[in-house]
């Protein structure tokens, strides 16, 4: 049924926000990028992709060698979905374009978890050429193996625009691993990724995202998550390779009783990387709880690590933990933990620490025969080891492997 006085459309709002800078991060001139890309052909067998491309994808957790370890796969290069497949009943995996053609109702989910006019980056995803992935777990369906999604930026100077919709229907369990990477070397590029998550009553979603960009690539993810009663959202984010400029601040809204959110972020900035990364959780329903855990390391780059928890109803609980490690003489870590309670009965806390490795810890390991370098590497490895609850063991292992691969480059 059409309303007589329709609200302004998303396009109208986006147009009005087309030059609105983001609240945080360096303002990027979008005119310096190309906004459209040519279609790439569909690949029925992604294992046939060039070896170098596959290697890059593997570094961010996307594998084509053993499909039995995945319940689905979707690969997008620039704006083309070159492969999509679901191998598990109850899980739908397709491009956002295709999903919008198939499901009329899907338009109700667009721009509900992320405001289209939040800033110019979101607005341009609505206004220009874009694609993305649609992943949906049907009611009650449970997957053990993750769906893997790869977003790959290959065209120089392209502003890759992505709009992802993830829906976990009531009582479902869904695991997703998203690897974002690029072929670009020495050429600029921009990745704008809008992701909207809808976690229905009693559903559990784990979302593991591994970023591996390049020193000339700028990245602006825009993520919103809405969690209903008894729903669980578990986010694991890893970025350990260079990026020119990254700014993201996903917002999770707990709207149903006992909804739970956990953000784990592992961020490492090498020289000339600029990262402004945070997580925001709004506890708007009784019994909602959250934990935001960040480990940040700089070997010369700049990191702003934000965290914000707001408790607006009684009996909610939130904890924020940020630990930063400065290796070497350059680089900056700026931890900004924020808590806001609007009434009695909220239980919010934070702890933050930024510093270098304690000499005492290095000496302790040296007393056991490790060289200074070995001791430092051991401590860094321990620092990055975040015990992740609720993640299937296999996925946890893969995540640790991805971290270990990057550790070597970092040290």
């Amino acid at each position: 049924m059409r309303r007589l006085n329709p609200e302004r459309t998303a396009k109208d709002k986006a147009a009005a926000a087309a030059s609105k800078p983001a609240a945080f991060g360096e303002d990027i001139d979008l005119d310096q990028y190309i906004h459209d890309s040519d279609e790439s052909p569909y690949q029925a067998e992604p294992s046939q992709l060039p070896a170098e491309t596959k290697r890059q994808m593997l570094q961010v957790g996307v594998t084509f060698d053993d499909p039995s370890q995945r319940s689905g796969t979707i690969v997008q290069i620039d704006h083309s979905t070159i492969h999509s497949l679901s191998t598990q009943q109850g899980i739908e995996v397709m491009s956002t374009r295709q999903a919008l053609e198939e499901y009329d109702w899907l338009s109700d989910y667009l721009w509900k978890a992320v405001a289209v006019d939040v800033d110019k980056y979101a607005a341009h995803v609505e206004l220009g050429q874009s694609n993305g992935y649609f992943i949906r777990a049907l009611p009650g369906s449970k997957s053990i193996y993750p769906v893997q999604a790869c977003l790959y930026l290959s065209k120089a100077r392209l502003a890759q625009k992505v709009h992802n919709i993830i829906i976990a229907e009531e009582g479902s369990e869904l695991h997703i691993i998203t690897g974002c990477t690029t072929a670009l070397k020495g050429e600029p590029g921009l990745h704008i990724g809008v992701s909207e998550f809808y976690i229905k009553r009693g559903a559990v979603v784990s979302f593991t995202m591994i970023h591996s960009w390049a020193p000339e690539v700028a990245v602006r993810p825009r993520t919103g998550i809405i969690i209903e009663e008894e729903g669980v959202f578990l986010s694991n984010y890893v970025i350990m390779r260079p990026v020119q400029s990254l700014q993201m601040y996903p917002v999770a809204r707990c709207v149903g009783a006992n909804a739970a959110v956990r953000f784990n972020s592992i961020i490492a900035a090498s020289p000339s990387s600029n990262m402004d990364v945070g997580s925001k959780v709004l506890l708007n329903a009784k019994g909602a709880r959250t934990e935001i855990i960040t480990r940040a390391i700089t070997t010369g780059g700049n990191i702003i690590a934000r965290g914000y928890i707001e408790g607006n109803v009684p009996d909610v609980k939130g904890h924020l933990e940020c630990r930063g490690l400065i290796l070497g003489d350059k680089g900056m870590i700026y931890a900004i933990p924020e808590l806001k309670g609007t009434l009695a009965g909220v239980d919010l806390s934070h702890e933050a620490a930024v510093g270098k490795i304690a000499e005492e810890e290095i000496e302790y390991l040296m007393m056991r025969g490790l060289t200074r370098e070995e001791a430092t590497a051991t401590i860094v490895r321990g620092f990055l080891r975040v015990d992740i609850e609720g993640l299937p063991a296999e996925l946890n292992l893969e995540l640790q492997r991805a971290i270990e691969m990057s550790e070597k480059d970092l040290m």
């Binding site: 005492e360 000496e363 302790y364 040296m366 007393m367 490790l370 051991t378 490895r381 321990g382």
Partner: protein, 251 residues
């Protein structure tokens, strides 16, 4: 072989400063292979400083004298080289290292490719099998910390073990096990002449002497060794008369 076996550690006229402050003055001490020596002294007398200087913590600056380990002056060598030469040390208050598991550190102590079963067996001996997958020293009780230190040293198997108050904060039930682990570490099951390991133990209370035999005791007062003799006799004197008597001795 002589009746007196050769020295494993020889300290000659050693003076040590921390920052601008001189803590140890002209220390002389000689430990032969197979011997265990104990170091008494009130708080702040410099006992830990002496052990830290032997292991080579850079904060403890040797300003004079030498530390000869197995015939070689090790002053100036970094900690890890001393450890690999065969010196091990258990700390009184070791640091917590988050994310680094006890298992990782025990495996590192073994150096060569450590077999899982070997590490588990060692940990069982120290009653720490359940602690292998916990962050090292994190949330450990006093006794658990001490046993974890000894577990690491057992894995490292040093020729000279420096033990800084291995019994402090340990309840009576645990102290026998601590004593047993130290005896294993120092090869006490072997007759003296066959022992290859030596030890230097700091003790504040002397309780450990109920479980571990030692050949020589010293009293360290205000940075100087003022007494050397039978450790039990020294302990008896300190127990009955306190360190007052030692001050008299020191003049």
């Amino acid at each position: 072989m002589n009746v007196e076996s050769e020295s494993v550690l020889e300290i000659k006229h050693l003076s040590v400063s921390v920052g601008d402050r001189e803590i140890l003055r002209g220390i002389d001490l000689n430990i032969r292979i197979g011997e265990t020596h104990v170091l008494f002294g009130p708080n702040g007398s410099g006992k830990t400083t002496l052990l830290m200087a032997i292991i080579g913590s850079p904060k403890y600056q040797v300003t004079q004298g030498s530390i000869i380990f197995k015939g070689r002056n090790i002053v100036g060598l970094p900690i890890d080289e001393r450890a690999r030469l065969g010196i091990g040390m258990s700390l009184q208050r070791p640091p917590v290292i988050r994310g680094v598991k006890t298992r990782d550190i025990v495996a590192a102590c073994v150096r060569e490719q450590a077999k899982e079963e070997y590490i588990t067996r060692l940990a069982e001996r120290a009653n720490l099998a359940d602690f292998l997958d916990r962050d090292v020293n994190y949330g450990f009780s006093g006794g658990e910390i001490k046993r974890s230190e000894l577990l690491q040293l057992l894995a490292q198997d040093p020729e000279l073990a420096l033990l800084d108050e291995p019994e402090s904060g340990v309840d009576l039930e645990n102290i026998a096990l601590i004593g047993q682990l130290i005896n294993e570490l120092l090869h006490k099951e072997h007759p003296m002449r066959q022992r290859k390991h030596a030890g230097l133990i700091i003790t504040h209370t002397g309780h450990i002497l109920d479980y571990v035999n030692a050949r020589t005791g010293y009293v360290l007062l205000d940075g100087r060794l003022i007494c050397e003799g039978d450790p039990r006799e020294i302990l008896e004197t300190i127990k009955s008369k306190g360190y007052r008597e030692c001050w008299k001795c020191a003049g």
